[in-house]
């Protein structure tokens, strides 16, 4: 059961930009941005398409790469320069934590030599750290585990942060990676703006790209 608590309480929240990454496609604000066309793995192909030069990308695990690409797409269109470096919070969520990388690390352990490079990615919030490093964000962080994309819970976090004057904007994210399937949703939520958002409307955007 989803709780749509925002409807009952007072604070309005606004959507600046959103990005959907799913089934080999990247959509920004509802419009197709790029498709998986070449031989490269999907996220590497998107990385090339954007024309980025950020070598750390290749050291990241798949979960961090998904978060990194989604954050890049969303933050580049969110007028980040209007905020101080600690006014933007990053609150992410998923179902499987870092389980895919956990299995990869565990395989190296059972193979005889545990990989420290993989072990450091066996925490879900590492992708939030990667995003903060990339965009020099010193604000609030959190990583929540939910069964499915839970717009109500994420917006509740935004509301609680705004009410406590702990942030002026929040990059929320859902990043789930299962073998070659990517399911990413990213949104830049603000306390003031034009495009009011509710748990229902955000869930619709997630479901309909």
């Amino acid at each position: 059961m989803q709780r749509f608590s925002l409807i009952q309480s007072g604070m309005s929240l606004f959507l600046k930009t959103y990005c959907r990454i799913k089934e080999g496609e990247v959509h920004i604000n509802g419009e197709l941005f790029c498709q998986h066309m070449d031989e490269d793995p999907f996220l590497r192909s998107v990385y090339k398409h954007i024309g980025l030069s950020y070598p750390k990308f290749f050291k990241m695990d798949e979960l961090s790469r998904l978060g990194f690409i989604g954050a890049e797409m969303t933050l580049m269109r969110s007028e980040l320069e209007n905020y101080a470096d600690d006014e933007v919070a990053v609150i992410f969520s998923n179902r499987s934590s870092s389980l895919q990388t956990d299995f990869q690390y565990y395989d190296t352990l059972k193979g005889g030599i545990a990989s420290p490079a993989l072990f450091v990615y066996t925490l879900p919030n590492i992708e939030v750290g990667e995003i903060c490093i990339r965009h020099k964000l010193y604000g609030e962080n959190n990583f929540l585990i939910t069964e499915r994309f839970d717009a109500a819970q994420l917006l509740e976090q935004c509301e609680a942060l705004f009410a406590d004057n702990a942030a002026k904007a929040v990059l929320i994210g859902w990043t789930e990676v299962e073998s070659d399937n990517h399911d990413g949703f990213f949104a830049f939520i603000t306390a003031s703006g034009m495009n009011e958002v509710t748990a229902e409307s955000l869930t619709d955007l997630y479901l309909n790209r």
Binding site: M1, R3, S5, S9, M11, D85, D86, V90, R95, S96, S97, L99, D102, F103, Y105, Y106, L109, K110, A114, S115, P116, F119, V120, T122, L123, P124, N125, I126, V128, G129, E130, C132, I133, H135, K136, L137, Y138, G139, E140, N141, N142, F143, L144, I145, T146, E147, Q153, E156, Q157, E159, A160, L161, A163, D164, N165, A166
Partner: protein, 348 residues
Amino acid sequence: MLNGETGLKSVDRPFGIDTTSHVGLIPGHLIPQEHMDSLKLTNMLAACYERSVSKLSFDAFQDEGGLVIICTTKGNINKIGQLDDPRLPLGRLGRFLKQSFDLGNEPMIISNACISGVLGIITAARLIRAGKYEHVMVLGGDIVSEFTLSGFASLHALTDGVCKPYDKNRTGINLGEAAAGLVLSSDETIFKGTYSEYISGASSNDANHISGPSRTGEGLHRSIERTLKPASIEANQIGYLSAHGTGTSFNDEMESIAFERSGLSETPVNSMKGYFGHTLGAAGVIETLLGLEGMKRKQLVPSLGFEEMGVSQPMNIIQETTAPSSEYFLKTASGFGGCNASALFKVG
């Protein structure tokens, strides 16, 4: 702890891992089994839920006004070797507690490395202040497993013996397992006994490195500033600081720099890691609880393992059981992913 004894014990090749590090293990027979799912961590969390509720004048968590937050880094990670064990994903912990205790809401699960516990407390307080819930129970828990122990061994982060936070001869961390629960509420009548006041808290990212702390202590310093400023509390008013103090050279040095920048060099400070190790997702909850207890009893315990100053910036490290210098207590934590958090309490 008052006797200055450690609960860390030498285990010969734990899980077959080649290490001489001491670990803090909870013997299975000490963990209540009424809510038997044969998993240590689930039973530890269930026991903490029940003990916490037993200290309240009413059970607030079976209706919509109450929320349980579970803070854990790895959950039941000891099940990773068993393919497709449905108990492995973290979300299952929440479902199990909801079913076992007929909770009014699905528990929230926070997995944010070693600040999970402190972040759980801050998140709980913010949700209450925003009017979302009246009562929030924060449960923190993690176990010592082959998975985490081998990982820290691969990073060469484990000490050979018992950790020595802030000491010149420190060589690394010990892992410990623990679960702990605390309740925050907007309604003081829920508490049967004494209680303390949560004042403020904040988290901040270093934006520097995913597995190494900032050399300037940036995130920790900022989280402390953003905790004290809204409360209009000056650093010199803090009577006790419970630090993260893992006993690695990088963490402890980073903390000394961040504390100096924050004006906390003279504040009585300890690390509890020498008593029961680094308990990961539980650390912020159990160390906050023990810090509050020390404040109430006016007995702040020594920072076990500390002998000779081993960090570059001055710190007032507690070496003999001492009384706090004021009623304000600050808890801090730092973790992988560059995350830092701090929370401020008033006791008495």
